[in-house]
Symmetry: C2
Subunit: 465 residues, 2 copies
């Protein structure tokens, strides 16, 4: 049953059998009429008695709806009883067509920087969340400790000490939203301390560049070779902070060599400098166990950043900092003003997941899968594109292939995309080096092993054109 009122601009549809109370229906109908301009500013409304009769509902319902819209300012009541539409102030946003952001899907997807999303341990994560919601006291629903919930920090510290050879403990940990927030927090504190420039690896991931720029930190680019950061060149700069990816550099895949590690730590001590250790995809090392963190060798000089993004999923936005004691309070204060702490339930689920060895189990499983993909990828490259130099195969979820001569990488990336192959060119990272060979980054986090050979075969034909 539908009824309409007169005057016609006050057309309100009521559906008496609906779940929505009549009063709300009247309110919404009036609001809509006002917003759409059908009831213009200054228009006189019918008396509640007339409208009630028109709509075949009780006057109390209409009165109540008018009261609500008076309170919200849609209507104004004049002395006496006349009710009018209030001065409208803005047009409602026109209903433009919503933008469509399709994520293209590729048949051969060598996108780097992401793990295989189909491997996410859904059941184990849900179980961790279930236990969290069952056993934790009500206090966890309060504002969390801005550094992260104590129990979660303790679990992360234990994990880092055990699995990453770190040297930390719960009161040196700050939990945050992925790497991005981690680097922002630390950079912000450095900036507050008067540090204006930070040394970074060259080449460097474009996103890192964005985060550092956002804090106004100038970047001093220090080249990376196959042994990682050129610490000798770092020493010639006047940097008092450096960001490094010792476990597996992005994009080159280099692992920082033992002598460079020692030299880097010596540099930090002499310079009283801070090393930011981006422990990028460190857990994936295939031919040996992962190399321990730098942090464990110099906890007072290294601000360590790790995340669940490569091990589990970037969608969790779970990151952790293991900080020198001198930085903890400052970072926590910046975290407070940024977002007042990270979500508590996710932290506790992570803690449960770590404490029960679920992460170790997950890594044991995925390491095998990724190693096998890497082997397949290296073999396919050797067979179909032997002229390319393959680098950074020891660890991580990507490798780098360098061209022996100058090529237009972007042309290759675009041509590959037309053949449903996704690869990333060095344009995706920043470099100032003229001698940097042209290269592609090939990730094997997403691609099914069975598609690797065919993908590389097709890519090789595009490259050789």
């Amino acid at each position: 049953m539908k009824r309409a009122t007169s005057p016609p601009e006050l057309l309100i549809s009521l559906t008496p059998d609906a779940d929505v109370p009549l009063r709300l229906q009247v309110e919404r109908g009036l609001r809509q009429a006002i917003r759409s301009g059908r009831l213009p500013a200054g228009a006189l409304l019918p008396s509640t008695r007339v409208l009630a009769t028109d709509l075949g509902i009780s006057r109390g319902v209409v009165l109540s709806a008018y009261d609500q819209l008076l309170a919200e300012g849609y209507l104004v009541a004049e002395r006496g009883s006349a009710t009018r539409v209030a001065e409208r102030c803005a047009e409602c946003a026109a209903d433009s067509v919503p933008e469509v952001r399709t994520t293209a899907t590729y048949q051969y997807d060598f996108r780097p920087g992401v793990p295989d999303m189909s491997l996410f341990p859904r059941n184990a994560w849900l179980n961790a969340m279930r236990r969290t919601l069952s056993v934790e006291p009500a206090g966890i629903f309060d504002y969390p400790d801005v550094r992260g919930i104590e129990a979660a920090r303790a679990s992360v510290a234990a994990y880092l000490n055990r699995a990453r050879a770190a040297e930390t403990r719960s009161d040196r940990i700050v939990l945050c939203n992925g790497f991005a927030q981690g680097i922002r927090l630390v950079s912000h504190v450095l900036r507050e301390r008067g540090i204006k420039a930070i040394a970074v690896e060259d080449p460097i991931d474009a996103d890192q560049d964005t985060y550092l720029n956002a804090e106004g930190l100038q970047q001093i680019r220090v080249p990376v070779d196959e042994d990682g950061l050129r610490v000798d060149l770092l020493s010639r700069t006047d940097a008092r902070a450096v960001m490094v990816t010792p476990a597996h550099q992005y994009p080159t895949g280099a692992v920082l060599s033992p002598s460079r590690r020692t030299a880097l730590l010596e540099w930090a001590v002499q310079r009283r400098a801070i090393i930011i250790e981006d422990d990028y995809d460190a857990e994936y090392r295939y031919d040996r166990e992962p190399i321990g963190s730098l942090q464990g060798r110099a906890p007072d000089y290294v601000a360590y950043i790790g995340t669940a993004s490569k091990m589990l999923s970037p969608a969790l936005r779970l990151g952790w900092l293991a900080l020198p004691a001198q930085l903890v309070d400052e970072v926590a204060r910046v975290k407070f003003t940024a977002d007042r702490g990270s979500p508590a339930l996710d932290q506790l689920a992570l803690a449960d997941f770590l404490d029960r060895g679920e992460l170790d189990k997950h890594l044991r499983k995925t390491r095998q899968i990724y190693r096998s993909r890497r082997d397949e990828l290296v073999t396919a490259l050797r067979e179909h594109a032997p002229e390319l130099r393959v680098r950074g195969v020891a660890a991580g979820l990507h490798l780098l292939v360098e061209f022996p001569h100058v090529v237009d990488e972007q042309r290759i990336v675009e041509a590959a995309a037309k053949h449903s192959i996704r690869v990333v060119a060095s344009r995706s990272f920043r470099t100032e080096r003229k001698d940097q060979p042209k290269a592609l980054v090939l990730g094997y986090g997403r691609i099914d092993e069975s598609k690797i050979e065919e993908g590389i075969h097709r890519l090789s034909r595009i490259i050789s054109v």
Copy 2:
């Protein structure tokens, strides 16, 4: 069975029956010896053969452990075969006593700004998470859309349109980490647009003050009276942005009156200004339904900020922005550089929770509980402290009691604490007004109804001293 090696400083304890492989035990033992200084920089290590014999394990295990520590830079191998401890660079952080941050518990806890944590709908939330983890495709484990997952934004938009009389849609929504991040994001964009000052309500919550300061926004304080923000005084400033809490001001509890609402929107249109609407605890209104948002009346001028903090729990750190079209892309870009998006699973759980009407159900239940507490509190105040003026009772989770004469509020807060009563003084918010009466904020989000009368009775004796 435990064995020790000579030389004595190389004391390594092995537990052959433990879960940890022997190789790892050797590695950790050596790392620990190096870190602790028992094995100083430059010290010569025994040959792998000698150490293996000493420990009664195979030489391969020791070789493997040495290799790992060589890769990590703890050891250096000289030409030939001698292995030494590398130059150490920093002392490990001394084991200072971890700080203890105890949260005092009060028998009568009138802390404002938090809901009753024991009411968190644990089962319903877990079910929402379970469905999310069961039904969503693997793609949700990728980096999320930085504005929030489309489905979650659509659910939030539908909720706001329905329950808050908003006028928005998914492509105007940005999901964020609670109010704190929301205000930071919007403030940052305003600052980038050259807006240097923002009008704010006086008095204002001290935390808000912190967030605005962090973005370098100067504050122009505009008094609040019992009808909310004095829009007439706002007009005399040259502000091009204002932050308001129209639904229930903190701390005064004032509700922005209909004529002020209209005047505020007129001001925004004339000035081409942005209104930031902090929809603070709007869902709790007791004697009538909640007042609709300002945003619904002027979607192109109002940047709306809402959160799950008062409705569900601040531990979720779930917030949402409903933005004018012109601000969406800029806010999304700032969100990207801040943390690359909020956790995806939480967003999807929220969407499920909203779509299934679980939030409505939760609010129906809790509204009754809080109303009953409010009534009890108002009654107790009338009985035991009739000289106090009670304000802001219509909505929210707190009210304000004003003293008829000048008192030392901080003395009262401290004396109350000694009697296990927690109340908050106006010191917890910022004001520049000389005429602002001395007052206490009394929250009833946490306190059990049965304790309210006794708490107020005891408080009244402290006040009357």
